[in-house]
């Protein structure tokens, strides 16, 4: 066999207590397109960031073309002819295409920019590979697809012959996807080696030569794409047999409490974020929303909580139209929202635990009287919550910032759930937490389900959805692509729906 262009052995990368990449081996052959398949958080991007010099591995060895390589920085990676196109483009909107492409390159001859020569070379490259791009255009005026082409050209301009693409099709239209694939095939044919990070089975099967499947930071398998099929890949990606860890015991499910009717929303860039979403959550029911992150789930949660407005459609709470109501009004109606990003939307890092716990009710009795805080009520309530939610903190006045992530999240949950809400919108409530905290949060959600709350649970962890939900919907590209009862759920179908295979 030919010498591999990239050989990674025993790669380990830890972030605090989390092991993102756990003893992974990876081998890339010249002239091939190699897929890294896995769910969110499987460790695909982290593994490739080790190769691209953005992160340093804690353990493991990298060989490039048979030579041992230590990659400290993106520049080291360029020197080894490795280029990575990140999911979030690393382009500077106010610069032109050509400026972005030559940015950071040292030309030996002069300190001046030679845009003209660079533009010529860029045109040449774009012709050679069939990648359309106007060197003089401003990046901020380009579509996402065009920006991606600029990123690819940027790597080619830097003479990269090992190209890493992180979820490249997430931002593309179907037409753009097929032209991207053409380009990639052409490049592979010319001896480029390409790594494609993806969670879409279709891409693996139609484009790639080899596929490595990652799950929970570990490599599950590596096989030729030609010997794989949709169903086996889906199974390996989403994983294990479903273990029903929790005793869900279908309780009494009551009336529909939260309902959306055909809500649609567009992003500021005009892309559809939500398309005609209609769903109902009944009292005493957990509706799980599965899907790869970025497919509209967070927007759905925010729209229901009142943090963003839908362009069309309506939202009902216990039959009452709440589409135009404010966040405060929805809170008063008993809608609780656990945001996916507690740092941005959930907590007040500089304030004490007690203050964080009381925010939503701070101007209501018993916590306030005539515009003044009632410390005694705030304190006793905080002490009770700290105790019953098992929040580990030195005192109720300790700033949230000093708490560990799990305890911060417990405090957010305590605030949102202690008011006995009618509706709970939980957007990735366990993301980034350790096992103990996750289990605790799961029990909490089930408890509230038993209490007859209507729970909308969004998670990218399929296990979590399968374990907790009564019914499941899958979102892909802002649409609901699959609906089922958990008891009759077909894992393969869910995996296919998440990957956009079911429409």
């Amino acid at each position: 066999m030919e010498q591999p262009v990239v050989e990674m052995k025993g790669m380990v990368k830890r972030f605090g207590s989390l092991t993102a990449v756990d003893r992974v081996d990876f081998t890339l052959q010249k002239g091939t397109i190699h897929a890294l398949l896995g769910e969110n958080g499987a460790g695909k991007s982290t593994l490739m960031n080790l190769l691209a010099g953005l992160y340093q591995p804690d353990e493991g060895k990298i060989r490039i073309n048979g030579e041992a390589a230590v990659i400290h920085s993106p520049r080291d990676a360029y020197d080894r002819k490795i280029g990575m196109v990140h999911q979030h483009f690393m382009l500077i909107p106010k610069l032109t295409v050509a400026e972005n492409i030559i940015l950071g390159l040292q030309t030996r001859s002069s300190p001046l920019l030679n845009i003209k020569d660079a533009s010529g070379q860029i045109r040449e490259l774009s012709q050679r590979f069939g990648i359309q791009a106007d060197p003089d255009a401003l990046v901020e005026e380009l579509t996402s697809g065009e920006q991606q082409r600029v990123e690819i050209l940027k790597m080619l301009y830097r003479n990269a012959d090992i190209l890493i693409l992180d979820e490249p099709t997430a931002v593309l239209t179907p037409q753009e996807v097929s032209s991207l694939f053409q380009v990639l095939r052409k490049m592979a044919g010319q001896g480029f080696s390409i790594i494609l990070i993806t969670h879409k089975l279709e891409e693996v099967l139609s484009l790639c030569d080899t596929v490595d499947i990652l799950r929970d930071g570990k490599k599950i398998d590596s096989r030729p794409a030609s010997e794989s099929d949709r169903n086996s890949l889906a199974r390996m990606m989403v994983g294990r047999e479903v273990l029903l860890e929790y005793d869900r015991l279908s309780g009494e499910q009551g009336e529909t409490v939260l309902e959306t009717k055909g809500i649609s929303a567009k992003g500021s860039d005009g892309r559809d974020l939500l398309q005609d979403i209609s769903l109902q959550v009944r009292a005493g029911e957990i509706l799980g929303v599965a899907g790869v992150s970025g497919n509209g789930q967070s927007e759905l949660a925010k729209t229901c909580a009142g943090l963003r407005r839908a362009d069309s459609g309506s939202i009902l709470c216990s039959g009452r139209d709440i589409t135009g109501t404010s966040i405060a009004q929805r809170i008063r109606l008993g809608i609780s929202y656990i945001p996916d990003d507690r740092h941005a939307l959930g907590m007040f890092p500089g304030m004490g635990v007690a203050d964080n716990l009381v925010v939503k009710q701070h101007d209501r009795p018993p916590f306030s009287r005539r515009g003044f805080r009632r410390e005694s009520a705030i304190h006793s309530s905080a002490d009770k919550l700290i105790d019953s939610y098992n929040i580990r903190t030195t005192s109720r006045d300790t700033s949230m910032r000093s708490l560990s992530g799990g305890n911060q999240q417990k405090a957010v949950l305590a605030r949102e759930l202690s008011v006995s809400p009618q509706v709970i919108i939980a957007d990735q409530p366990t993301r980034g937490l350790d096992v103990g905290a996750i289990e605790y949060i799961h029990q909490l959600l089930l408890e509230h389900r038993r209490r007859n709350a209507a729970v909308l649970l969004i998670s990218t962890e399929l296990d979590e959805i399968l374990n907790l939900s009564d019914r499941i919907i899958v979102m892909y590209a802002g649409r609901i692509t699959y609906t089922c009862d958990t008891d009759s759920a077909d894992i393969e179908q869910i995996g296919l729906a998440m990957a956009g295979e079911l429409q």
Partner: protein
């Protein structure tokens, strides 16, 4: 040995790991570092640091009059600083206290000059305060509304409005409101009924000092005891989360700026009605900027502001004594003030480092206790 360790642990806990302890410790460290560097500078110009600092203390607190002067100097710093602490709690970077002081002082002067001869002191003095408060608040309203409605950075607008206020006052006291008997621009003296009463005979200690102290209590209560203050603090700490929790963030930001400007307006008011008895171009003498230092040193805590305003005022008042007793130029105190604020800035960094260590420590503790629990179960 273990006892000693225990003691160090406890000390460490109180000084570094309680939020309050952290604030006090780092503030004291900042002042100490600034005084130390200041001492080096004094020594470098051939004077005795000890003598210089001694002179400052005696100049600022040595006798009744000195104390009165220090208090009179501290009062407007305190008022303006109180306002700034509210704005900074809301994360509104009001650099415009200086302009708001001018606006407030001018409004108070106009009120005094027009109503002071017709109304009794008991009526006109509150009216003056009201006028000063309103004018200062309105001056701060401009950047506040530009920030919340149009998203324009408040920093640059508050700076611009400083100069606009100073120039506008300059025009007013030179033209329509000029004292005809004076050779330079200033308003006429305000009527007696408008002047704040002196509370200590043979000093300049006026009732404005007491009013400033009253406002310490008021602002403290607003910020820490009222639901409005709570909203202000949440909006400043994390506006996104505050919004998600149903707080109308923009409204809260505007209110915080109105309070901030209003307090600066009061500072201008007592300068006019308690000290100079007329509007002059030099009404502030940079109080609006010194107040920023005072506020940062006090870490936006109203109660701590008293100490920090007294510290800065004492430096200013004691500076002259230092000059003739220790032969150290007055300006050394500005140097020390500047060093204090830079060390206070550095403190922000130190504070974060300690917090991070604390977090790591508690995570470790947690893991240990988890492990212990696990062991027990087995």
């Amino acid at each position: 040995m273990t006892k000693q360790r225990q003691y160090i642990r406890t000390l460490q806990h109180h000084l570094l790991w309680s939020d309050f302890g952290r604030q006090v410790t780092t503030a004291v460290m900042a002042i100490a570092a600034a005084l130390l560097l200041g001492a080096l500078c004094i020594a470098a110009i051939g004077a005795s640091p000890l003598k210089a600092y001694g002179a400052i203390i005696s100049g600022a607190f040595g006798n009744t009059n000195a104390v009165a002067e220090t208090a009179v100097k501290a009062a407007p710093l305190l008022l303006a600083g109180l306002g700034l602490s509210v704005a900074y709690r809301a994360n509104m970077w009001n650099i415009g206290a200086e302009g708001q002081i001018f606006a407030g002082g001018m409004a108070a002067a106009v009120t005094a000059l027009t109503l002071g001869t017709q109304l009794p002191a008991a009526v006109v003095i509150p009216l003056q305060f009201l006028a000063g408060l309103t004018a200062g608040a309105l001056w701060a309203f401009i950047p506040a509304i530009l920030k919340t409605k149009l998203g324009i950075d408040e920093i640059i607008n508050t700076i611009m409005l400083n100069y606009i206020a100073v120039l506008a006052v300059g025009w007013l006291i030179q033209n329509p409101l000029r004292d005809p008997s004076a050779g330079f621009p200033r308003t006429s003296m305000i009527p007696e009924a408008s002047q704040l009463p002196i509370i200590l005979a043979r000093t300049r200690l006026h009732v404005g000092v007491l009013i400033a102290l009253v406002f310490v209590v008021i602002i403290h209560v607003v910020l820490w005891k009222s639901t409005l203050g709570f909203k202000i603090r949440t909006a400043g700490d994390n506006p996104g989360a505050a919004r998600a929790c149903g707080i109308r963030v923009n409204r809260v930001l505007i209110i915080s700026m109105l309070i901030s400007g209003g307090m600066a307006g009061l500072a201008g008011t007592i300068q006019v009605t308690g000290l100079h008895f007329r509007m002059i171009q030099d009404i502030s003498g940079g109080i609006g900027f010194s107040a920023i230092a005072v506020t940062l040193l006090a870490n936006n805590q109203p109660a701590a502001l008293i100490l920090s305003a007294l510290f800065m005022a004492a430096l200013d008042v004691g500076a002259n004594t230092m000059q003739y007793q220790a032969d150290v130029p007055v300006a050394v105190v500005n140097l020390i003030q500047g060093l204090v604020i830079l060390f206070v800035v550095g403190r922000e960094f130190l504070y974060r480092r300690i917090t991070r260590r604390h977090q790591a420590f508690s995570e470790k503790q947690e893991k240990l206790s988890h492990a212990a629990e696990g062991a027990k179960e087995q």
